[in-house]
């Protein structure tokens, strides 16, 4: 007898038009969020805060109420939604530029206030939507369209380790960095996303997941090469792991 082992999550829109580039990890990340919304049965009381960048299109895929934030302001908008409607589940889906460059103040202050929000941040070491420019997470030596000779400290300074910064905030309940380069890591990523929602649902504080992701188009790589880069370069500097979890008893 045949059993269904794989299906489209209920929290994804029907007949959605996929708009991410081939091999981009955004698609996997959005799907994981949808699966978590399904598993926690919170789709009908969730509000997505869409940010600026490729991540904005999350509202084309996730079948939840959504509001779009000005660039960098996602967690300020999220704060407004959550404070107005504390019973809603509010989460942002942001890129690293939105979260950690233009929106660093909003991001860290939301964490410091211990807002009961969940933030998902895609780290692909570049500004994807605008064509692969240097962002806050661009690695030293990495060539982008605005660091054509490679990122050097003299001109550009250092890349930011986002999860570690978020973990330092007293209002953070959970902060983790995950990768989507292997099936095993995708499973771990889903668990982290789930946890970041659970701390919100339990009123414990700010939940955060940084997802290391590919941008094959702007990296000028095949999807396989891109995942290889995640493993070989990104995971060395941006080490996956749980950086804070206040639910863990030691």
């Amino acid at each position: 007898m045949a059993t269904q082992v794989f299906k489209i999550p209920k929290s994804l829109k029907e007949n959605m038009k996929y708009s991410f580039c081939p091999g981009c990890d955004h698609g996997v990340a959005v799907r994981l969020v949808a699966e978590v919304l399904d598993e926690l049965d919170i789709q009908d009381r969730s509000v997505l805060i869409a940010s600026i960048g490729c991540s904005v299109t999350a509202y084309d895929f996730l079948d939840v109420d959504s509001v779009e934030a000005p660039h960098g302001r996602a967690l300020a908008v999220g704060t407004g939604v959550k404070r107005a409607k504390p019973n809603q589940v509010v989460f942002s889906y942001q890129g690293d530029g939105d979260f950690a460059s233009i929106g660093l103040a909003e991001s860290l202050h939301a964490a410091l206030r211990g807002e009961k929000l969940t933030a998902i941040c895609i780290n692909n070491t570049t500004y994807g939507m605008t064509g692969g420019q240097l962002g806050p997470t661009t690695l030293l030596g990495q060539k982008t369209t605005t660091s054509t000779m490679g990122r050097n400290v003299e001109y550009y300074g250092y890349p930011i380790k986002i999860a570690e910064h978020v973990a330092l905030c007293d209002g953070t309940a959970y902060a983790a960095r995950v990768s989507l380069d292997t099936v095993a890591n995708i499973r771990k990523a889903k668990q982290a996303i789930k946890k970041a929602f659970e701390v919100q649902l339990n009123g414990l504080g700010f939940g955060f997941v940084e997802i290391l992701a590919t941008c094959p188009t702007n990296w000028r790589m095949t999807p396989e090469q891109a995942h290889e880069r995640v493993r070989k370069e990104m995971m060395k500097h941006y080490v996956p792991g749980v950086y804070k979890d206040i639910t863990e008893t030691k």
Binding site: K13, Q43, D44, R45, S46, V47, I49, A50, V56, Y59, D63, V64, D65, S66, V67, E68, A69, P70, H71, G72, R73, A76, V77, G78, T79, G80, V81, K82, R83, A84, K85, Q88, A105, E106, H109, R113
Partner: protein
């Protein structure tokens, strides 16, 4: 229901406190702010009162965040506001543009101070352009209400919430340091407007209905054309329904003094002084700066020789008066760059010079 502030008698209140109390009585559910003189009393009052009432209050990390929090709260359909002043309202322009595109009922209290730059904390009307023309991107309008005394700070705060929700458009109460800091007797009556049903658009979770998206991103040019045109149809309706002004002595006037906000108090007195001297001078005060009373000014232009706008800036509203008058009469300016308005006597003598 909050009744403790409804007194049915006059109480002496500072403009900033009057605005804050009125917003409470209007049912403001969420306040987000960042301090700046001369409006800090609003945030100070709200910090205690909102917590006492179990409503939302956040001391935001910046004005960028404060207005974005307000946008977020508004997306759920509640009444939400922020308040600020000049150089910090400048920081809010981007989100105001988003909020118009999102059609959200955001209320902004803007208490003008001197500029440009950090300027100073004295009263000014230098942000007429900022409020009515906008510093944000794209074609949009904010509804702008300009009180001239503390009672109007109350009445127009009520109205700001009402119009914001009625038209789903960001609405600005444009006061200044003079109004914010002065005390006058005011009466806090109950919020006079009916609550507006927003259940057809507010984000409350997609339970037993389709999910909703509040967005401004429109990747297709044709869609965006249609959307902006629709927005402007709404603005036309607002112009038809909501334009408000005060006029006095215009029936037989040769000259009409045009002024808004706190400055108009002195101008009204100057008009009376001119009348005492036998000059046929009238007074006209736009209460809504958008929608601007173009039609009425154009009618009056057929009967009078000259308009003189009186402003505490280098001449901003004069541009709108000129457009409204459209060449039918001359339009001149009496002004001062920053500070308390020119005295009625100064205005009167300058009017005589301009005749």
């Amino acid at each position: 229901m909050i009744t403790e502030d409804i007194t049915n008698k006059k109480v002496l209140s500072k403009g900033n406190y009057a605005i804050a109390k009125a917003s409470i009585l209007a049912g403001c559910d969420c306040y987000f702010g960042y301090p700046i003189t001369p409006q800090s009393e609003i945030g100070e009052y709200m910090s205690g009162k909102m917590q006492e009432l179990g409503r939302a209050y956040v001391s935001a990390e910046s004005e960028l965040a404060a207005i974005s929090m307000t946008l977020g709260a508004c997306s759920t359909g509640v009444k939400a506001m922020t308040s600020s002043s000049s150089c910090a309202v400048a920081l809010m322009q981007e989100t105001l543009s988003y909020a118009t595109a999102d059609e959200l009922p955001l209320v902004l209290i803007s208490v003008m101070r001197g500029g440009p730059g950090l300027g100073n904390i004295y009263p000014s009307q230098g942000d007429y352009f900022q409020a009515t023309k906008g510093g944000g991107n794209g074609d949009y309008k904010l509804i702008v209400l300009a009180p001239s005394n503390v009672q109007e700070c109350v009445d127009l705060t009520y109205k700001a919430f009402h119009l914001a929700h009625k038209y789903r458009n960001p609405t600005v109460l444009l006061a200044d340091g003079l109004l914010g800091q002065m005390m006058e007797p005011v009466e806090f009556k109950p919020y006079p407007y009916a609550e507006i049903d927003n259940s057809d658009w507010a984000l409350t979770g997609a339970k037993n209905r389709k999910s909703r998206v509040i967005r401004s991103y429109a990747p297709l040019a044709d869609n965006q054309c249609k959307f902006v045109e629709k927005l402007f149809e709404k603005y036309k309706t607002i112009e038809e329904n909501e334009t408000e002004w005060e006029e006095m002595g215009t029936e037989d006037a040769d000259i009409i003094l045009v002024s808004f906000g706190s400055t108009s108090r002195n101008v009204k007195t100057a008009m009376k002084l001119c009348r005492e001297k036998g000059l046929k001078v009238g007074f006209f005060r736009p209460i809504t700066l958008f929608p601007f009373p173009n039609k009425r000014l154009n009618e009056l232009a057929s009967k009078v020789k000259k308009f003189i706008t009186v402003e505490v800036n280098m001449g901003q509203m004069i541009n709108d008066v000129k457009l409204a008058v459209n060449g039918k009469a001359s339009v001149e300016l009496i002004h001062k760059a920053v500070g308390a308005p020119p005295s009625p006597e100064e205005i009167q003598s300058q009017v005589e010079e301009l005749i």
